[in-house]
């Protein structure tokens, strides 16, 4: 068997647990979608592009109908409950999917290979198109844009001028700095908490540990939009951090720790238990075991999580909209959105700013690429 028959009869049935989980995750993701609607269409025209999460945000903070917003949140939560239950049931049996080795493309016939590579390049191009568009726009002059020359060869290159203006005429530097502080502190906080929680959940048997783990898993699926009213209330009344970067730091740590704990727990559970027992027999304390045995061994996982959490937090738009409103505390995502309002029709500047905002996560990924991939495939290739 080969080709599609192989895919249809062998590969897909084997992947069923993974695909069903992926489907539930994407359903949840779709129910969560907010950023694109908010940035691109504001739900319009005539509400034709409004989604539940955006509608809720709009009703709560736009029309100040907080009770109505909360009611929508409850509905969303009910929908989500169904997904979570299905997910938990689905994820319980631990299907051991063996690593499969694809047939190397080099052995295919030349014609097939050409089709393959062409497809790869086309996909890559389509995927990168928005970034290419932004990159080209960011080096155009304003005359070009006014003349409608969006895709053609630029009549003049004003990259230096555009990028200098981004920094001189806007608080871009401040935004980038805020983003950097928020992201780094959140990453460190979430990783520290999740490593400890993961160690405890995987290595100690205590009353309610399974329930706690189930809560961590389920918590990942709660659409955070529905928490915006209580979170904003907490940030204003309980811990007075509203409109500071610490509001974002605290809530990002809180939201990321759930996912990270699940990841760390599974990773630490893979470590041979005898390593820990050997240390215990030698009279090494639990804290010392954590720092000297566990942490060095989960370094690849920490690196992978760092990259993921860095990207999540850096790209977050929703919470920066809900929790901060002054330029001094805005991260770069919300900052760009604010600039879009002050810099109407200055697409070259917006593009330049967007591109700058996209650089740090990419940089982090390339710096930690090796550890990242090692972390994701750990356990699969124990030799």
């Amino acid at each position: 068997m080969k080709g599609f028959k192989l895919l249809w009869h062998i590969v897909l049935p084997q992947l069923r647990p993974a695909t069903s989980i992926a489907m539930i995750v994407s359903v949840v993701g779709a129910l969560r979608s907010f950023d694109l609607v908010s940035v691109m269409t504001d739900g319009g025209p005539y509400q034709s592009s409004t989604v539940l999460a955006y509608y809720m945000y709009d009703q709560t903070f736009g029309a100040f109908r907080i009770g109505y917003g909360a009611a929508i949140a409850s509905c969303l939560f009910f929908l989500m409950d169904i997904c979570i239950v299905i997910f938990l049931i689905r994820s319980l049996p631990r299907g051991g999917a063996e690593a499969m080795f694809p047939i190397p493309i080099e052995t295919a016939s030349p014609a097939r290979r050409r089709v393959f590579y062409a497809t790869v390049w086309i996909c890559l191009f389509v995927w990168l198109l928005p970034i290419i568009a932004i990159a080209i726009t960011s080096i155009r002059s304003v005359q070009d844009l006014n003349a409608g020359n969006y895709w053609g060869w630029p009549t003049e290159f004003s990259a230096v001028a555009n990028y200098t203006r981004v920094f001189t005429s806007s608080p871009m530097l401040r935004f980038l700095f805020n983003s950097m502080v928020i992201t780094l502190v959140s990453c460190v906080g979430a990783l520290a908490l999740s490593a400890m929680a993961g160690f405890a959940l995987s290595r100690y048997r205590f009353r309610g540990s399974t329930l706690l783990l189930a809560l961590f898993i389920a918590g990942n699926f709660v659409p955070f939009q529905m928490l915006m009213i209580p979170v904003r209330d907490i940030a204003i009344h309980v811990i007075p951090v509203y409109d500071t970067i610490w509001a974002l730091v605290i809530f990002h740590i809180a939201f990321q720790t759930g996912f990270c704990t699940l990841f760390m727990r599974n990773f630490i559970a893979e470590l041979p238990g005898e390593l820990i027992e050997a240390a215990r027999v030698e009279g090494v304390s639990e804290i010392q075991i954590f720092f000297h045995v566990i942490l060095p061994l989960v370094r690849p996982a920490l690196a992978a999580l760092f990259v993921l959490v860095f990207t999540f937090v850096w790209n977050d738009y929703f919470w920066s909209l809900v929790l901060v409103q002054s330029d001094s505390a805005r991260p770069v995502t919300a900052g760009l959105q604010a600039l879009r309002e002050t810099w109407t029709n200055t697409w070259h500047l917006i593009s330049a700013g967007s591109l700058l905002a996209a650089v740090p996560p990419v940089l982090v990924f390339f710096l930690m690429q090796r550890q990242f991939i090692a972390g994701l495939t750990f356990g699969a290739t124990k030799g």
Binding site: P272, E274, V281, E282, G283, V284, P296
Partner: protein, 313 residues
Amino acid sequence: MTYVSLENIAKDFGTTRVIKGIDLSIEQGEFVVFVGPSGCGKSTLLRLIAGLEQMSEGRLVIDGRDMTAVDSANRGVAMVFQSYALYPHMTVADNITFGMRMNRVDKAIIAERLERAATMLHLQPYLDRKPAHLSGGQRQRVAIGRAIVRDPSVFLFDEPLSNLDAALRHEMRVEILKLHKSLGSTMIYVTHDQVEAMTMADKIVVLNGGHIEQVGSPLDLYLKPANRFVAEFLGSPKINCFETVVQAVDKGVAILPLPGGATVSLPLDSADISKGDAVTLAIRPEHFVVGETEPQKSKRRWSWWSTLVLKPC
């Protein structure tokens, strides 16, 4: 003198009792081997002694101190695991000294003990290597070195050689015995391999289904097994068993009919076997000897020695 004493030790996992009340005393300097089929509870018993599992019932005394509720770190035991349990991110030297460093032992003492263990186990050339760059036998030696530097009152080995190939296993067996001789420490060794048990032990403890079947020296167990389980468990090829019924007992000699129709007369050890009892006749394969041909029957005759008549268990 009893050095390690297990008094009615039991262990439950949930509702199942896996160790069913074990009494055992071990002398100082003895090499004791726990042997038994997989699932017999031998590793669990070792882990109970190490303090890695909590006893459900019973008492453990080591060197006169009640260790039942003492942390494994303070029991004065050192354990060598089947998987070696070496820390992959540390060098050999760091692996060996890890426990001492964490417990803030004086640097001079650490260096001296490391030196001593490395010399004893021929590990000096490898002290700066990571475990991944060592062979199986070398890894095992590092694991033993880590136990030696603790200067324990009891060494615990949990199937330490089962991951090694046959040749290396033989070599390590000799090395562990040499070590035992030079250190003179008490050692408890778990294995499922009866050859290891027979060749290494001062005292073998045969376990089955969570209880002790028999305790004794290797030859005692081999020649005088207490029951059919022990008789069949030790010895390869396996002992031959014939089910039969005692035809008559006369002055301590029993007449037993054999499946082929012949009978055999055997002296009995115990007096509680009498006429009409169903018994098992067990004969070690190497004890079959081709006898002389008896002219009147012109059939081959077998002679038996060191055979056993066992009550069914």
